[in-house]
Symmetry: C2
Subunit: 187 residues, 2 copies
DNA sequence: TTGCTAAGTGGCGGGGTCCTCCGTATCGTA
DNA sequence: TACGATACGGAGGACCCCGCCACTTAGCAA
């Protein structure tokens, strides 16, 4: 039995995904599925067959990048300076979320109606960042009560909030700095 | 010369605005203009005539509330404890942004294509919060480099990021707490 | 090589939205 | 009351999402 999909199906999947990447990069998370189908040279039904929901497509589009960010977190988990390691990772996450169209939206828009049921974008990132965060907390470099999901959520929020800024990445970085340091000083 | 609009125009404006408030409260910032027109018993062109863009409609919908929040800021500007005053205002802003559908979106989606050209929702809030912030900074209660626009933007981002949470207002408050205190402790 | 079968495809139609145009009804005034 | 400017609303075009269904084609088996 052919457990795997047919060859043409796999080919179409790849074509659609490639086109979707460009289209999302150009028009954000609200890119037209119809347009993607047209550019990929397939019927719109075929797009829907491979990606039942818009969230599924966005997840696929950003999967590689998310995996790369997760890998970066694992690398940094062995760094000497735990605080610097965490901050570097947060910075990388912020840069990417703020500079790539649709990324932040994909993280925050819970495609399915599940209230908090494993967001396929936030979850892997939070899971990958968790060890980094725990190490930093154990070293006293992070205030207690903070979770990895909090950090990812905050960064996604910052990215969304700076989307219309002239230089989103720079502004997002600046805001991240404020959040890390806190609005109110030590005293 | 009738500088003012006609009586029926004023009536329609009010009807549309009232319906829009309900509709936005129910379906968020993406509420259907067509549906609003239908419920208000007017043609869709009439809606567009009074509110040329969706942003204009959202601004009108939230105008009163924004004004109320600005008034609260002016009240608090005379409070004894400057730090507490600022925090209370930020809390009020967060509560409202996170618990009312469409508010955060209205603040962040720059309707017109102007890059940073006076957002009619963020601007009045930032302006109203500015004295509060300045007083707090002068008293050393707030880290330098923070602007009122930063605060409003951050809160809007938090509100958007917690939109799909079971209890958005509570979660937003918690995240605001993290941001105020900072991720990294005093050391 | 040649059928055969089921996986895969794509076009079509329905329902919805946004937006613009333009003939018409209505208000306020002379 | 009659007129002119103001405001209205429906029609129509463009786009989009979505589900259905008849058709094509890949891949296995004889």
């Amino acid at each position: 039995m052919p457990a795997a999909q047919r060859a043409d199906a796999r080919r179409n999947y790849a074509r659609i995904l490639a086109v979707a990447e460009e289209e999302v990069a150009a028009h954000g998370a609200d890119a037209s599925l119809e347009q993607i189908a047209r550019t990929a040279g397939v019927g719109s039904a075929t797009v829907r067959r491979h990606f039942p929901t818009r969230a599924a497509l966005l997840e696929a589009v950003f999967r590689e990048r998310i995996e790369a960010l997760a890998a970066r977190a694992r690398e940094l988990a062995g760094a000497e300076d735990v605080r610097a390691a965490l901050l570097e990772w947060l910075g990388a996450l912020t840069d990417y979320s703020a500079s790539v169209q649709g990324m932040a939206t994909a993280m925050l828009r819970n495609g399915d109606l599940a209230p908090e049921h494993a967001n396929p974008c936030v979850d892997p990132l939070a899971e990958a960042g968790d060890p980094l965060l725990r190490r930093a907390m154990r070293a006293g470099a992070v205030r207690p009560g903070v979770t990895a999901t909090d950090l990812v959520t905050l960064i996604a929020g910052i990215a969304l909030a700076t989307e219309h800024h002239p230089d989103p990445a720079a502004e997002a970085d600046r805001l991240l700095g404020l959040v890390v340091a806190g609005i109110c000083p030590p005293g």
